[in-house]
């Protein structure tokens, strides 16, 4: 395949940045999107040009490190991570535009690399069950109906990639935050702290500068792990009931 790439290049956070066009030939349909970028980078390096910096690690769709806004969609045309997107999804002669995630809470570090530490800080604000190592009951002492466990699991599969934020016109992080709140609120282990958790995580989310939710559902439609929109509804319920009744915060 022959391709034209329009790639966002930005030297550092203070640089203005802009698109640069590259021509690529001899791309195999079996390559993953990131392997295609590897080819580009080998070419650039051989020519003595700075390779395109992008985040990636596991390349099997689970670490959440790869990002990329491809032709106006986070992770490209399919509901998957960029590392699991293959070139067979494109056609010979295509022009592909590649941008970083765009959100003020995800500042650009270099080229396509952004800083998502705001997600870590949201988890630090309450995305856990407060138990120390040791001194916990036997695992089977807390029976959990399979349906509930499965629903909690669905929310727990979030990989923290940030596609939901990139997809949202308001750069809202509601899907990410609600997934963690739902996972723990559904389980007996997490119920104890659910009110405090909802209030603290929402407060941190706002502090980081993520936008509000207008229920368009773009986040869920683009989520590579298919986190459901119903989590946001559950989060809102948890948050409102917490603010009506809580003694905390």
């Amino acid at each position: 395949m022959n391709l034209t790439l329009k790639v966002w290049r930005q030297k550092n956070p203070s640089d203005k940045g802009g698109f640069k066009t590259y021509k690529l030939s001899g791309i195999s349909a079996d390559m993953s999107f990131l392997e295609m970028l590897d080819v580009l980078n080998e070419d650039l390096s051989e020519k003595g040009e700075d390779p395109v910096h992008f985040d990636h690690d596991c390349r099997e769709g689970i670490c959440g490190m790869c990002s990329l806004y491809i032709n106006g969609q986070p992770h490209g045309p399919h509901q998957t991570t960029t590392c699991q997107l293959h070139m067979r999804s494109f056609r010979d002669g295509d022009t592909i535009t590649i941008e970083p995630w765009r959100a003020s809470a995800f500042p650009i570090v270099k080229d396509l690399v952004v800083d998502r530490s705001s997600f870590d800080r949201i988890i630090q604000s309450g995305g856990f069950v407060s138990v120390n190592t040791g001194g916990v009951p036997d695992a089977n002492e807390i029976p959990i109906p399979k349906v509930i466990a499965d629903e909690s699991f669905d929310a727990a599969t979030c990989i923290g990639c940030g596609a939901c934020v990139a997809a949202c016109k308001n750069a809202s992080a509601m899907l990410f935050v609600s997934a963690k709140i739902s996972q723990l609120a559904l389980l007996p282990q997490g119920k104890v702290e659910k009110k405090e958790r909802a209030e603290k995580m929402v407060a941190q989310m706002d502090k980081e500068g993520f936008g509000a939710c207008t229920n368009t559902g773009a986040c869920s439609a683009e989520c590579p792990k298919e986190i459901k929109l119903s989590n946001i509804a559950r989060m809102n319920r948890e948050y409102f009931s917490a603010s009506l009744s809580t003694e905390n915060v």
Binding site: K11, N12, S28, M31, S32, L34, E35, D38, V39, E42, S45, E46, D50, P51, H53, D57, C58, R59, E60, I62, C63, G64, M65, Q84, H86, R88, V109, K110, S117, F119, D120, I123, Q124, G127, F128, V129, V131, N132, T133, G134, V136, P137, D138, A139, N140, I142, P143, K146, A149, D150, F153, A156, T157, I159, G160, Q183, L184, L187, Q189, G190
Partner: protein, 644 residues
Amino acid sequence: MKLDSKIPSGPLAEKWTRHKFNVKLVNPANKRKYEIIVVGTGLAGASAAASLAELGYNVKAFCFQDSPRRAHSIAAQGGINAAKNYQNDGDSVFRLFYDTIKGGDYRSREGNVYRLAEVSVNIIDQCVAQGVPFAREYGGLLANRSFGGAQVSRTFYARGQTGQQLLLGAYSALSRQVANGKVKLFPRTEMMDVVVVDGKARGIVTRNLITGAIESHSAHAVLLCTGGYGNVFFLSTNAMGSNVTAAWRAHKKGAFFSNPCYTQIHPTCIPVSGDHQSKLTLMSESLRNDGRVWVPKTKEMAEKLRKKEIAPKDIKEEDRDYYLETKYPSFGNLVPRDVASRNAKYVCDEGRGVNETGEAVFLDFRDAIKRDGEDAVKGKYGNLFDMYEKITGENPYQTPMMIYPAVHYTMGGLWVDYNLMTTVPGLYALGEANFSDHGANRLGASALMQGLADGYFVAPYTVGDYLASLPYEKIPEDHAEFKKSEEEVKARVQKLLSVNGTKTVDHFHKKLGKIMWNHCGMARNAAGLTKAKEMIQSLKEEFWSNVKVLGTGEELNLSLEKAHRVADFLELGELMVDDALHRNESCGGHFRDEYQTPEGEALRDDENFAYVAAWEYKGEGKEEALHKEDLVFENVKLTQRSYK
């Protein structure tokens, strides 16, 4: 130097309990006076950092990724073993211990392995309490499955994403301690050196991957939880960033490196599709519970498959060779990883491989779908099937999967004693970074168990024992040893940037990977290893005279990061070859062509090789010195592994 494993005396089942009583304790009010560095935030690192912080120590946690949640433990699919015996099928701590020792082909320590089996039950309790959503039965209790090499159902799992869920559990515990101010996080920071003062590990030197700043961090103890070195093969199931650098720099500062040649080749990976390939994707071994492995009985038929003249479904039942079921009637498709991998290689070497490259066998779910229905199969393996289809473009519900072995895990690592301390006092290695529990071969669902055992339940006791006799004063970060180390790191950065050659870092990495895979991979022999050593040495020379690293040291520079890692892989590769060449026997993941039984199974030499090889770095360009720790077996009888 005499290696002392410090295995406590007394009966096997009481060793850990006695040891826990005998270790020195640090008064709760004094714990805050100590600082501990944890490098790596995977299962071992995150669990250790969280647990130590909960106890009251001050912890600094480092990872090269943008967040601790990205560590490669996240990619483990299948499950985690624990001797809970919830299924009433005869499991016990002793049986898990026995299976693990036997699975490791009798090349691990009894004491360590027993402790691992013993604390396995606590891990499950801990993870459930954190909110890890393990699979459950309709009655609400935890579900189990059996897993490669085991005849009991002791594996706990979370669909095909067990590693993810366990890591997120540990990450949440770590995050809680960050919020409490007990852990300070340093993401996008790579460890470049261990600083040793008066014979003790007293800190590390790091490179900030965003700014390039070289910085010193002083502490009372350093824990390396930096994973394995499978990426020495270039193609492996490891993440792109997984590397040996931290462990290797520690090795050069005096930590012995053990059994580097013990590498695990995983039997169920998606086959290589071309030269562009950057990594290999594992399909969880749990698939072997229901999938049947086969190739055509004849070469001719395999050739037709390769040319796509016929489809797998055109091959009649009597023309299929379910070679694992035939050769190993009692274990069948569930034989341990090394056995399954080697047999795949044999049938492909015979010309019966089924894809274009001739390096693939079938893993077929036709019978499972017929027996249990598509929904049941989907429930168990849905996400794995989806992943397979995304990568290959083929639907495994309709046509059999194709698989081939790939490098997956490294049993070797830094030598540690029973306390997980390396040969450098105050320097610990946890999880895959150490060598201790898996012997020559790791059983499925044991890596998650070991990482969490070390981090949650072992290090918090043993590190305290060491700290208790250490003064509170920290070594200042402007101490001569820190400065010296910083200068060395800076000089190395400059050296890499100034070569200004013509070949990219990846060029060298790929070349090294090919040498390792061809000569130090699934099967090795003396001639090949001798040749490999020469090839690596000349590749290393070429690297330092002709590598091209662009950009500067003061910015985010991916090729510079990679160059550091590949330079260390080049040195490690040579040691792996030395280790494989000196071990004149076959055991577990180390298979020497010269040493096999008439049936083609690994032939151990317990008389001469029942020891841990521990290599000591002797300086640039010098041969490393071999030390031996004899393995003593008091509770198991060494037998020839048989899965017939």
